[in-house]
């Protein structure tokens, strides 16, 4: 099977979504009018662009996530062998986690975990 199954699933998904949307495109009736394509905002015409600049808070979360995500990458192979390696594995990971936890505490204290 191997990675072929991935391709299979990919095609499955593509076919399914594509098929459904295409079928709907074929059979569904459409009717155009002037305001149909306008963005919906509770029935009021929008003011200003919808693509606006956001707050730095979003970035901070993504950033902290990224760091811990990398941590996760290392944890998986570690977790697989931890019972084999024994106590050294524990000490190593305690150090590793502790260092990153410091980072979390720093972010916490700095207020980076506050949503704006």
């Amino acid at each position: 099977m191997g990675s072929v199954s991935l391709i299979l699933l990919l095609i499955c998904g593509l076919a399914f979504a594509g098929g459904g949307i295409f079928l709907s495109w074929v059979v569904a009736k459409t009717k155009k009018n002037a305001v149909k394509g306008e963005p919906y905002e509770c029935g009021i015409p929008t003011t200003g662009t919808s693509w606006i600049q956001f707050h730095v808070g979003y970035y901070l979360f993504a950033l902290i996530f990224l760091v811990f995500d990398v941590e996760l990458v290392f944890l998986f192979p570690w977790a697989v062998v931890v019972t084999k390696v024994g106590w050294t594995a524990l000490t190593e990971i305690v150090i590793f986690m502790f260092i990153l936890f410091m980072g979390l505490l720093y972010a916490w204290k700095k207020g980076a975990l506050k949503w704006m």
Binding site: Q53, F54, Y58, L63, V81, K110
Partner: protein, 182 residues
């Protein structure tokens, strides 16, 4: 041409075409999405090469992490729907020439060099092996880099939080001033 080869070329195309689009499209959001596709393509190449773990790492960090970060920063810094400023044509031209030249240079190198016979042994349960050498403290083990990475990440996190938050007082300075005025 076997199915496997076909798949390889498909994957190659899936890496290169979005990559090219990523560096040429005008909308920054789209560029990020094309980058995403290219990175997924690279991940599937890893899958293709039976390096599942690396592929998953690629997906987790690049797709789930870095691209999301880039997307957020796009929202943060840009009116993301607008077209970007286009480079000067002259510069575009010369960059293209340089890149193509470099590409052919390496192409020639590649065709001249013989890498020897490809080994055929399949890696056995690479994740176990990776885990073991990650934790081994002997020569050839990676436990020191492993810890160093944590410090690197810590540094990156602290650094970027500090940098990103630094500008904030300036931003918010106007607010208290306003409330005092009331």
């Amino acid at each position: 041409m076997s199915a496997s080869t076909v798949i390889f070329y498909l994957i190659s195309a899936f890496i290169l075409v979005p990559a090219y689009l990523a560096v040429t499209v005008h909308k920054i959001f789209r560029a990020a999405i094309y980058l995403l596709f290219s990175l997924i393509g690279v991940a599937s190449l890893y899958f293709y090469l039976d390096n599942n773990f690396i592929a998953a790492v690629q997906v987790v960090v690049y797709v789930g992490g870095i691209v999301v970060l880039i997307l957020f920063s796009v929202f943060l810094t840009h009116e993301s729907g607008k077209d970007m400023q286009q480079p000067v044509e002259k510069r575009e031209f010369f960059s293209a020439i340089a890149s193509v030249c470099g590409f052919f240079l390496i192409l020639i190198q590649l065709s001249l060099h013989n890498f020897g016979p490809s080994a055929t042994a399949i890696q056995s349960d690479s994740i176990q092996a990776i885990g073991l050498s990650l934790l081994s403290t002997t020569m050839g083990g990676y436990s020191l880099p492993f810890e160093v990475v944590s410090i690197l990440l810590l540094a990156a996190m602290i650094g970027s939080i500090a940098i990103a938050i630094k500008a904030k007082p300036e931003d918010t300075k106007t607010e208290p001033a306003k409330s005092q005025a009331q």
